[in-house]
């Protein structure tokens, strides 16, 4: 079970495959739609939600400003509470530490609480390489692990699976990893959960070592917190003799009181619940109660690089709630695997390139572009990460990295340079528009009606334009640009009204329209006078747009 994101294609290619997966599309649209509605409901009932968001962002920003201070304070508090603190610069160091602890206790297996940090570093694969089984105990993680699959969501890693698929995975795979699924298992959620519970229970009771992450680490008291919904975390955190927690260095909070804000923000944003079902907090070893040996691995793995990025560092505020995934129209359609990272969706599109660094591989460099910049993610983020701002910033980093690299400029580089040259002068812009207008005049005889104002459009086109035109008709350049029209008519004043019409001015709406849009010919006359009905709707309303095109004829 060593599925990995390594070697994934760039986002557009991976997305294309995902978009064709009809079951994935159905599953995701249903799941994200449900959770989105639920979140909106419980967030809407909190009067001071905006203040809470501001407080959450402020707490995290304070931590980031004084990170070394709070980390050292956390280390001291943890040690005082009887925990052993390890520092890991990268994934390899962290994995070695965890594997070393397991080996010290001659453990052949560990039970795991769902943890993004351990997924990020590939801990399960490192343990497996050392001959140690790592059992995921979160229901969705179990589904992913048994299915030899990859997680596709931060909170619900098996969101791409429906219950029929889950039933099949349980029936097929549970027996190979421990207690088999009961015969006659249906896809009823209660039955699926019961099968998982029975399968996991023997692992909880048997394991000597557990591995967790932490949602928060309180510097003042040395308290770690795990927030979960199934009770599997509570089992892992209390039953085994040894507990190892891998914690990203940005997870630290100054005081216990800060949990007050975070534990309001997190459940409403992530599962759409008012209160989280299982919130475990522990401060070191308590003699005779719970694990008697505790290790905390403080993980950097690229986080200090993110911190060094003045625009991008706000991503370290992230509390892994996944609200941005659930609301993202791109994620909803492509799913998480297309992002080629344990961090998918909008937050993944900024976090992954910053953790890995840009300018090295095409897959990572494609991620900041995997967004329409619609801003829905920023709107729901409980700690106010301006994801669109960071996406645009990272796009510039990608472009800068490519410009600095040896070799010829890309087609895109040249196109942008040419566009910049043309558009930095109104004379050059006007000349380009004249040329496109000429083309437009020729093309105008083809096409249907679809563009703004009901203008004609072109159908399929060859070459690079096919990216647009394969599915979308193409607007035809206006025969006369606005700029040219303004110049020719003095902003519509020179041929404003149809001849012979009393320039009554403000009252004659139809006139103004006729005049501006079409340079006053027979058309204006129709709108004006005679024909009572047809003329009313046509001339006065729809025509203006369509006929404006003919003005330059």
């Amino acid at each position: 079970m060593t599925a990995t994101f390594v070697g994934m294609p760039a986002f557009p290619t991976a997305a294309k495959a995902a978009l064709a997966d009809t079951q994935l599309r159905r599953n995701l649209a249903h799941a994200t739609g449900t959770i989105r509605t639920k979140r909106a409901g419980v967030v809407g009932e909190v009067d001071d939600w905006e203040e809470l968001r501001l407080a959450g962002a402020a707490i995290k920003d304070r931590v980031l400003r004084h990170l070394p201070h709070y980390l050292e304070q956390l280390e001291t508090s943890l040690q005082a509470a009887g925990a052993t603190v390890h520092w890991a610069r990268d994934a390899d160091e962290a994995n070695q530490i965890v594997v070393g602890i397991a080996q010290e206790h001659e453990a052949r297996e560990v039970v795991k609480v769902k943890s993004m940090a351990t997924q990020e570093i590939g801990l399960n694969e490192a343990l497996e390489a050392a001959g140690i089984d790592a059992w995921e105990t979160d229901l969705a993680e179990l589904i992913v692990q048994l299915g030899d699959d990859l997680p596709s969501h931060i909170l619900v890693p098996a969101i791409h699976r429906n219950r029929a698929e889950i039933r099949e995975i349980f029936l097929r795979e549970m027996g190979t990893a421990g207690r088999a699924a009961p015969e006659g298992l249906t896809d009823e959620p209660r039955q699926l959960a019961a099968a998982a519970r029975a399968h996991l229970r023997e692992k909880f009771l048997r394991a000597k070592v557990a591995v967790s992450g932490a949602n928060f680490a309180v510097a003042e008291t040395g308290t770690l917190t795990v927030v979960e919904s199934e009770g599997n975390g509570r089992m892992c955190l209390t039953l085994p003799e040894v507990l190892v927690s891998v914690v990203g260095i940005e997870k630290v909070l100054p005081t216990f009181q800060d949990l007050d804000v975070m534990l309001q923000l997190l459940p409403r944003s992530s599962t759409g619940e008012r209160m989280n079902p299982y919130t475990s907090t522990w401060s070191g070893v308590t003699p005779g109660d719970g694990p008697q040996e505790m290790h905390v691995v403080l993980l950097d793995n690229g986080r200090t690089n993110v911190l060094a990025d003045e625009v991008g560092r706000q991503a370290l505020r992230c509390i892994r709630c996944s609200a941005c995934l659930n609301v993202c129209p791109v994620y909803e359609r492509t799913g998480g695997h297309a992002y080629g990272s344990v961090y998918p969706g909008p937050i993944g599109a900024i976090l992954t390139p910053m953790l890995r660094g840009v300018g090295h591989d095409a897959q990572t460099d494609s991620l900041p572009y995997a967004s329409s910049l619609c801003g829905a993610c920023f709107e729901v983020c409980p700690v106010r990460i301006d994801i669109p701002e960071v996406l645009v910033h990272l796009r510039s980093e990608v472009v800068d990295a490519h410009k600095a690299a040896p070799g010829l400029p890309s087609v895109q580089d040249m196109a942008m340079k040419a566009a910049s040259w043309t558009l930095s002068s109104s004379a050059r812009t006007g000349a380009a528009e004249k040329l496109s207008g000429l083309g437009g005049r020729l093309l105008n005889r083809f096409g249907g009606h679809g563009a703004p104002g009901g203008a004609p459009m072109l159908g399929a086109l060859p070459g690079p334009a096919s990216a647009w035109a394969d599915s979308r008709d193409v607007p035809i350049p206006a025969p006369e640009s606005f700029r040219a029209w303004w110049g020719r008519t003095d902003g519509g004043r020179r041929d404003a009204a149809p001849p012979g019409h009393a320039q009554g001015g403000p009252t004659q709406g139809g006139t103004a329209q006729g005049g501006t849009a079409q340079g006053g010919t027979a058309q204006g006359g129709t709108a004006q006078g005679g024909t009572a009905q047809g003329g009313t709707t046509q001339g006065g309303t729809t025509q203006g747009g369509t006929d404006g095109r003919g003005a330059g004829r």
Binding site: P12, A15, K16, L19, P329, V330, R333, P368, S372, L373, G375, A376, F378, E379, R395, S396, E397, V399, M416, K417, S420, L423, S424, S425, S426, T429, A432, E433, S436, H449, G450, A451, P452, G453, A455, G459, P464, A467, W468, R472, P475, A478, S481, F482, R483, W486, G487, G491, P506, G509, G510, A512, Q513, T516, A517, A532, T536, T541, G544, G545
Partner: protein
């Protein structure tokens, strides 16, 4: 008040009728409109693709072009948003403190509906549009600028209009600038869902405040031969009811009062 029309590059070259409609509309409301002819493009396509250096000369040009204006009005939430939120970034990138000061001193930019509702204080602009319409609130209007229900309040006041609610209105149409090309497959998947929602309303016309988004959804609707056309909000608001000089229609529909915007004086600088 004299305002500079920032027509936007896409409207200039592809959809000039939208610019003409803004002129018609603002003049009807008594606003003196100028078109600073030196204008080109706000630079958003470069910025959003990551080409900040390439956006710098466009920013310089924009600042020079609009230097004399009291205010700028743009029939695009996206371009207004770019001026408001991205120009500073571009200026800082240039390393030229003069350019940063230029951005700070630049006249305020309003998206059209902001200008109508907030500055002129009108929602009834005297428009007449007897068609079944649905409205898509484009993302940058909605979330970057926060225009809220200004466009809808303007549309609701249009005579003859039949306004249909668009399901999933807040969701992005999938245009996203160069996203539409770089991630064409995803863009089209999003756009098709938007088009499906539009068609489900039974509307004849899809209206929005950004022609770039309309070009995308309209391209899909046109390809589908859907019988739905797209139209910029400004073009709807510019339409007025023609005055029928009644000769034979004594007993038929009463002749309307000539449309004049209520809520604001018809002429003479309402602010």
């Amino acid at each position: 008040m004299t305002v500079g029309l920032m027509v936007t590059c896409i409207n200039d070259a592809l959809f000039p009728d939208t610019g003409k409609a803004v002129v018609t509309l603002l003049r009807r409301l008594g606003v003196e409109v100028t078109f600073p002819a030196a204008q080109t493009c706000c630079g958003q396509p470069m910025v959003n693709t990551g080409y900040l250096d390439e956006a710098v000369p466009l920013l310089r040009n924009h600042l020079d072009a609009f230097a004399g204006c009291e205010a700028i009005v743009a029939p695009s939430g996206s371009c207004a948003g770019s001026v408001r939120h991205q120009h500073r970034l571009v200026a800082e990138r240039s390393g030229d403190p003069g350019l940063v000061r230029g951005v700070e001193a630049a006249p305020p930019v309003y998206e059209l509906t902001e200008y109508l509702v907030d500055v002129l204080g009108v929602t009834d602009v005297g428009a007449y549009f007897p068609h079944r319409v649905t409205y898509h609130p484009t993302c940058h209007s909605l979330r970057m600028l926060g225009v809220g229900d200004r466009p809808l309040s303007l549309l609701r006041a249009v005579r003859g209009i039949r306004l249909e609610e668009l399901p999933g209105a807040d969701e992005c149409c999938g245009f996203g600038g160069t996203f539409a090309m770089k991630n064409a497959e995803t863009s089209i998947a999003m756009g098709n869902d938007k088009a499906r929602h539009v068609r489900s309303t039974g509307a004849e016309v899809l209206v929005a405040g950004d022609n770039s988004c309309l070009m995308h959804v309209g391209g899909l609707l046109s390809r589908q031969r859907s019988g739905v056309r797209v139209m910029h909000l400004a073009e709807v608001l510019a339409q007025t009811e023609p005055v029928v000089h009644s000769v034979t229609s004594a007993g038929s529909a009463p002749t309307r009062e000539p449309a004049s915007p209520s809520g604001a004086p018809t002429a003479g600088g309402s602010q």
